[in-house]
C-alpha cells in the first residue's frame, strides 16, 4: 500500500479531475453566498482564499488555463477543509469532493516534482505512521515518558522548541497528559453494558485518539457501557484515512477504509461509534470514497450508515446517570466536520445543557472553524493563529470557564488559544466525553 503512484495512475487522478470534479465545479453559479461562511476568506481577504475562488481555480486547472502546481496548489493548500461553505451553498456544490479531487490531482500532476521539505515530512507521517497502530502507540508511550520524566518541563523552560518552530512549541504545550499504556483498553475486547443492554456498539478508536488521547477513549467506552451499550473494540481497525484524503493520498485512504470496513463488518454491532468529528466525517463518507469500487461499494455504504458520533448515542440513550455537579459557564465550539459534514449540532449542546449546575452560553461564531484543520495549524501556523485569535475574542465574551469540543484537533487548538491568551488559570478546554465522564463519577 506504500507504493508510489505509477505514471498511468497519476494521469488517472488528473483525469478524474477532468470528469467528475469538473462537472461539480460547473454546478457553482458564483453567487458568492459561500464567502461570509469561509474563515480563510475572512482572515485573508482575497478571493483565492474563498470557496468560490478555489472552485473556479480548480475549474481553470481542469481547463488547462492554470498549472496544478504553480497556481492551484497554494490556494488549495490554504483551505481548512471545514466545509462550512457547503452548508451556505444554495445550490449544493459538493465542495469537499472538489477539494479532495483537486488535492489528489495536485499530488499526482505531471509537474509535481519540486515538493518542499514539509511535504516530505507530511508524506512520511501519512505513509509510515498513522496507518500503523503499533507505531502510533510507541510514539504515545514515548510522549508519556517524555511528560513523566520531567523532560518536558526542561524543554519548556529552555524555550528551545519555540526557536525551532513556534507551531510545535504550541502543540507540545497543548498535548494532554498521556495515560500509561497499561490503562488502555485493548482492541479485541468486548465490554459488557452496565445493567440492561440497550445497544450493541462497535467503537472506532482512531489513530491519534488511540495513541495520544487514550484517556478520552477509555472514558468514552466507560460512558457507553454506563449508558447501556455493549462495546466491541474490533481488532485490526486502523486510522480512518481522513488525513490521507485531505492530503490527496486517496489511494491510501481507500486501502485504510477497506481494512476498517472489514474489521467492523465482522462484528454484529448495530452502530459504529466514534468520538472525533474529523474521523467521524471520514467514516461517514466511506460510501462516497468507495462508490466506484464494485467489490466494496455496498459494504462501504452500510458502514457509513451505521457510523455515529458519541454525542448522538449518548443523547439517544440518555439521560446519563449524573452523580456530580459542574460549576461555571460552559461554551461549545463546533467541530466543523461534525457540524457541516455529519450535521450533528444539537446533541452535544443538549448533553452539555443537561449537566446539573452548568450555565451554558453560546459564543458568537460557534460555527466558525477554529483553524486546527487536521494538521493545518502545523503547516500554516500564522494563518491558523490569526483565525484562532479572533475566536478567542468571542470565547472570552461568553465568560466561559470551560470550552468543550468533540474532536481532538479542535480540543488542542482551543488549548493553544487559551495559552496564547494567558488564560490557563481561568479556562480549560475539554472533550465532551471528559466533562460528561467527570459528572458521571468516572475518571
Amino acid at each position: 500500500m506504500n507504493l508510489p503512484a505509477k505514471p498511468n495512475e497519476s494521469n488517472a487522478a488528473v483525469q478524474n479531475l477532468h470528469s467528475d470534479a469538473y462537472d461539480w465545479t460547473n454546478q457553482c453559479v458564483k453567487c458568492g453566498y459561500c464567502l461570509p461562511a469561509c474563515p480563510t476568506y475572512e482572515s485573508m481577504g482575497v478571493e483565492s482564499a474563498s470557496p468560490r475562488g478555489r472552485i473556479n481555480l480548480v475549474k481553470m486547472a481542469a481547463e488547462g488555463k492554470i498549472d496544478f502546481q504553480k497556481d492551484l496548489a497554494e490556494p488549495i493548500d490554504l483551505c481548512l477543509g471545514c466545509r462550512a461553505c457547503e452548508t451556505a451553498c444554495p445550490v449544493g456544490v459538493p465542495y469537499g469532493h472538489i477539494l479532495e479531487a483537486a488535492k489528489e490531482a495536485i499530488e499526482n500532476s505531471p509537474s509535481a516534482n519540486q515538493k518542499n521539505k514539509m511535504t516530505k515530512i507530511k508524506k512520511l507521517a501519512l505513509v509510515h505512521l498513522f496507518p500503523y497502530p503499533k507505531r502510533m502507540n510507541r510514539i504515545g508511550s514515548a510522549v508519556q515518558l517524555y511528560q513523566k520524566t520531567g523532560l518536558s518541563r526542561l524543554i519548556r523552560s529552555s524555550n528551545v522548541l519555540q526557536k525551532v518552530s513556534p507551531a510545535l512549541a504550541h502543540l507540545e504545550q497543548a498535548l494532554p497528559a498521556i495515560e500509561p499504556s497499561s490503562k488502555r483498553i485493548r482492541t479485541g475486547t468486548i465490554m459488557p453494558a452496565k445493567g440492561e443492554t440497550k445497544l450493541k456498539v462497535a467503537f472506532f478508536t482512531g489513530c491519534i485518539m488511540d495513541s495520544m488521547m487514550s484517556r478520552i477513549n477509555r472514558l468514552t467506552i466507560e460512558l457507553l457501557t454506563l449508558a447501556g451499550c455493549e462495546v466491541i473494540l474490533p481488532e485490526n481497525q486502523n486510522c480512518c484515512g481522513a488525513l490521507h484524503s485531505h492530503q490527496g493520498e486517496i489511494k491510501q485512504a481507500k486501502a485504510l477504509a477497506k481494512r476498517n470496513i472489514q474489521a467492523f463488518m465482522q462484528t454484529d454491532a448495530d452502530v459504529i461509534v466514534n468520538n472525533a468529528g474529523g474521523c467521524g466525517a471520514s467514516l461517514l463518507e466511506y460510501g462516497h470514497l468507495l462508490a466506484d469500487d464494485h467489490e466494496w461499494a455496498g459494504a462501504a455504504r452500510v458502514f457509513s450508515e451505521k457510523s455515529k458520533d458519541i454525542s448522538q448515542i449518548l443523547h439517544q440513550l440518555g439521560p446519563l446517570p449524573f452523580t456530580e455537579e459542574w460549576q461555571g459557564i460552559v461554551s461549545y465550539q463546533d467541530s466543523c466536520h461534525l457540524r457541516n459534514v455529519q450535521k450533528v449540532q444539537k446533541e452535544p449542546r443538549l448533553l452539555l445543557q443537561s449537566i446539573p449546575g452548568v450555565t451554558y452560553v453560546e459564543m458568537e461564531g460557534f460555527d466558525r472553524c477554529c483553524a486546527s484543520g487536521g494538521i493545518y495549524n502545523l503547516l500554516h501556523f500564522d494563518e491558523s493563529m490569526k483565525i484562532l485569535d479572533e475566536k478567542m475574542k468571542n470565547l472570552k465574551e461568553t465568560k466561559a470557564t470551560t470550552v468543550v469540543t468533540v474532536n481532538p484537533g479542535c480540543q488542542m487548538q482551543m488549548s493553544i488559544g487559551i495559552q496564547r491568551e494567558g488564560a490557563a488559570n481561568q479556562m480549560k478546554s475539554l472533550h465532551l466525553v471528559e466533562i460528561l465522564a467527570k459528572v458521571c463519577g468516572l475518571d
Binding site: V29, K30, C31, G32, V46, N56, I66, D71
Partner: protein, 468 residues
C-alpha cells in the same frame, strides 16, 4: 501592461495588496453573471487617496480600471472586459456609523449591506433596499448597480436612499456630492447620476444613506391561482385599493414545479401562479389591510389563501420563494437570469409573451419576481457547453427584452445593464438617448478609463453573444 506602469503602481500600492500571479487574477475574472475576462493586475486599495493615485496613473498609462465589491453582480458590471486593473474594494470597510438623530448611515463602500440592516435595526431604524445577495454584497456595489429586491414596491430602490457621496472621478479627483440633508437642490444632482452608473462615472469611497423608522410589525399571506391572468388582476386590484404591500412576489407554474421537486413542501402543482404578499406597518392597520388583500385574492379567483399566524408559518411561506434559485439550478448548470420590468398593469401580458418564447424555443424558462413593481425575473436554465441551445438562448433573450420594451417597460429593474444588455440600449432609449448618455461619459472620462465595455454597446453590436 507596460513595465513602466507597473513600476509606477508599485510606488502607490504595497506588494501585499497588488496581485500579478495568474491564480489571483483568475479569481477576479468573474462575477455571478456570465463571461470570464482576465485582468492584468488586481489591486486592493485601502482608502480614497490610494484610489485617486491609481486612477491618475491609469489615465497617464491608459489602463482600464474596474472597481468591484463581492462580485455578486448578475449583469457583468464588474467584469474586466478590456483587461487592465481590477480594484477589489472589499478592504474599504472601516466606517459604518449610524447617525440616529439625522436618521442616516455613513458607510465605507466595502461594508456588507446586511451589516447596515443589522446596525440600523439595532437603532430602531430601517434601510429598506434588500437584494437577495445582501449577506454577501457590498453597499458600494449595491449603489453603483442600483440594486433593489422585494421591498422596492413600497420603499423604492437604492437610489431613493443615497443622499451624499465621496467619489473618485474617472480622472482621479476626489469630490463630494449631495450631503447630509434630505432636501438638497443645489446644482445638478450628481449623486443620482453616479448611483446606478455601474462604476462608469466614479468610484464611490463613502456614502451617506437615508434611514427610515423601522416598521413596527409585518404580516404575510400566500394565495394560489389556477389561472395566471387572475393573479395579475389580483395584483392590480390590491394596488388600486389603496393598500401598498411591502412585498408582492410571484412564482409561475414552472417555478412551483421546480421548487416542489427540489424540496417538497406541498405546493400546488396545478396552480399557474402563487402570490406572496407581505404588509408592514402598525399592527392594527396591517390586520385590517391583510384581510382586505386576502378578500381581494378570493374575489379574483384564488383557489387557496392562507394568512401566516405565526413566525414559523411566515418563514414557511417565504422559504418557497427563497428556494426558487437553488431549485432551478438543479435543472442545469448555466442560469441566465434576467430582470426585464414592465408597468404592473402589463404583467399578465408579459407572462403571456414569456410563455410564447418558452414554447417557441423549447427552453427551460421559469418566471418569478417582484410582481408588485412589475420587476420579473425570467430565468433560462441551460448548459453553456450545449452550443446549439445557447444560440437559441441568445434569440430568446433578445425577444424577452423586445417584449418588455414593447409593453412600455425597461431592460433592467435592478441588475443593471453591464455587458449582457448593452446591445439593447438603443432599443429602449433610441440613438439620441444613448448618445446623450455617452456624452456624459465622454465628458467625465475622456480617456475611457473607468469600467469600459459596460452599458454602451460596441459598434455594430445588436444582440447579446453568449457563445462564440
Amino acid at each position: 501592461m507596460e513595465k513602466e506602469a507597473l513600476v509606477d503602481l508599485c510606488q502607490v500600492i504595497p506588494g501585499d495588496r497588488m496581485f500579478l500571479d495568474l491564480a489571483e487574477r483568475y479569481c477576479y475574472s468573474y462575477d455571478a453573471s456570465f463571461g470570464e475576462y482576465l485582468p492584468e493586475v488586481v489591486i486592493q486599495p485601502k482608502n480614497a487617496e490610494e484610489i485617486s493615485e491609481v486612477v491618475k496613473l491609469a489615465n497617464t498609462h491608459k489602463i482600464p480600471v474596474y472597481p468591484r465589491g463581492s462580485g455578486t453582480s448578475l449583469s457583468g458590471g464588474p467584469l474586466p472586459v478590456k483587461g487592465g486593473m481590477v480594484l477589489d474594494m472589499t478592504l474599504l470597510r472601516d466606517k459604518l456609523i449610524i447617525d440616529r438623530e439625522n436618521m442616516l448611515a455613513i458607510v465605507s463602500p466595502g461594508v456588507i449591506t446586511a451589516d447596515i440592516h443589522k446596525k440600523a435595526e439595532e437603532a430602531g431604524l430601517f434601510y429598506p433596499p434588500d437584494p437577495s445577495s445582501s449577506n454577501v454584497a457590498t453597499i458600494g456595489g449595491n449603489l453603483l448597480e442600483n440594486s433593489s429586491g422585494p421591498k422596492g414596491l413600497k420603499y423604492g430602490t437604492t437610489k431613493e436612499y443615497v443622499i451624499g457621496l465621496e467619489v473618485v472621478t474617472p480622472t482621479g479627483e476626489i469630490i463630494r456630492t449631495g450631503g447630509k440633508t434630505v432636501k438638497n437642490v443645489t446644482g445638478y444632482d450628481l449623486t443620482r447620476l453616479i448611483v446606478g452608473s455601474e462604476g462608469t462615472l466614479g468610484i464611490v469611497t463613502e456614502a451617506i444613506i437615508r434611514l427610515i423608522p423601522k416598521p413596527q410589525s409585518k404580516q404575510t399571506f400566500v394565495a394560489h391561482f389556477n389561472h395566471l391572468i387572475d393573479s395579475g388582476h389580483a395584483i392590480t386590484s390590491i394596488l388600486s385599493s389603496g393598500i401598498l404591500p411591502s412585498a408582492l412576489e410571484l412564482m409561475d407554474n414552472a417555478c412551483i414545479r421546480a421548487v416542489e421537486s427540489y424540496r417538497p413542501s406541498g405546493l400546488p402543482l396545478q396552480a399557474e401562479a402563487i402570490l406572496i404578499i407581505e404588509i408592514d406597518g402598525h399592527p392594527l392597520a396591517i390586520e385590517e389591510e391583510i384581510n382586505k388583500c386576502a378578500d381581494i385574492c378570493r374575489a379574483e379567483g384564488a383557489s387557496y389563501v392562507k394568512i401566516a399566524e405565526t413566525e414559523d408559518e411566515r418563514q414557511t411561506i417565504w422559504s418557497a420563494r427563497k428556494s426558487v434559485s437553488p431549485a432551478i439550478t438543479q435543472m442545469g448548470p448555466t442560469k441566465i437570469s434576467e430582470d426585464a420590468t414592465v408597468p404592473r398593469s402589463q404583467i399578465p401580458a408579459m407572462m403571456e409573451r414569456l410563455n410564447n418564447i418558452r414554447e417557441k424555443y423549447g427552453l427551460n424558462l421559469v418566471v418569478f419576481g417582484h410582481a408588485g413593481d412589475g420587476n420579473l425575473h425570467p430565468n433560462i436554465i441551460t448548459d453553456k457547453r450545449n452550443i446549439t441551445e445557447m444560440k437559441k438562448v441568445e434569440l430568446a433573450v433578445s425577444e424577452i427584452f423586445e417584449a418588455a420594451i414593447e409593453l412600455g417597460g425597461t431592460l433592467s429593474g435592478e441588475h443593471g445593464i453591464g455587458t449582457l444588455k448593452s446591445p439593447y440600449m438603443e432599443m429602449e432609449l433610441g440613438i439620441t438617448g444613448v448618445n446623450m448618455m455617452k456624452k456624459i461619459k465622454e465628458a467625465w472620462d475622456p480617456n475611457n478609463i473607468l469600467n469600459p465595455g459596460k452599458i454602451f454597446p460596441d459598434k455594430g453590436q445588436t444582440r447579446v453573444v453568449l457563445v462564440t
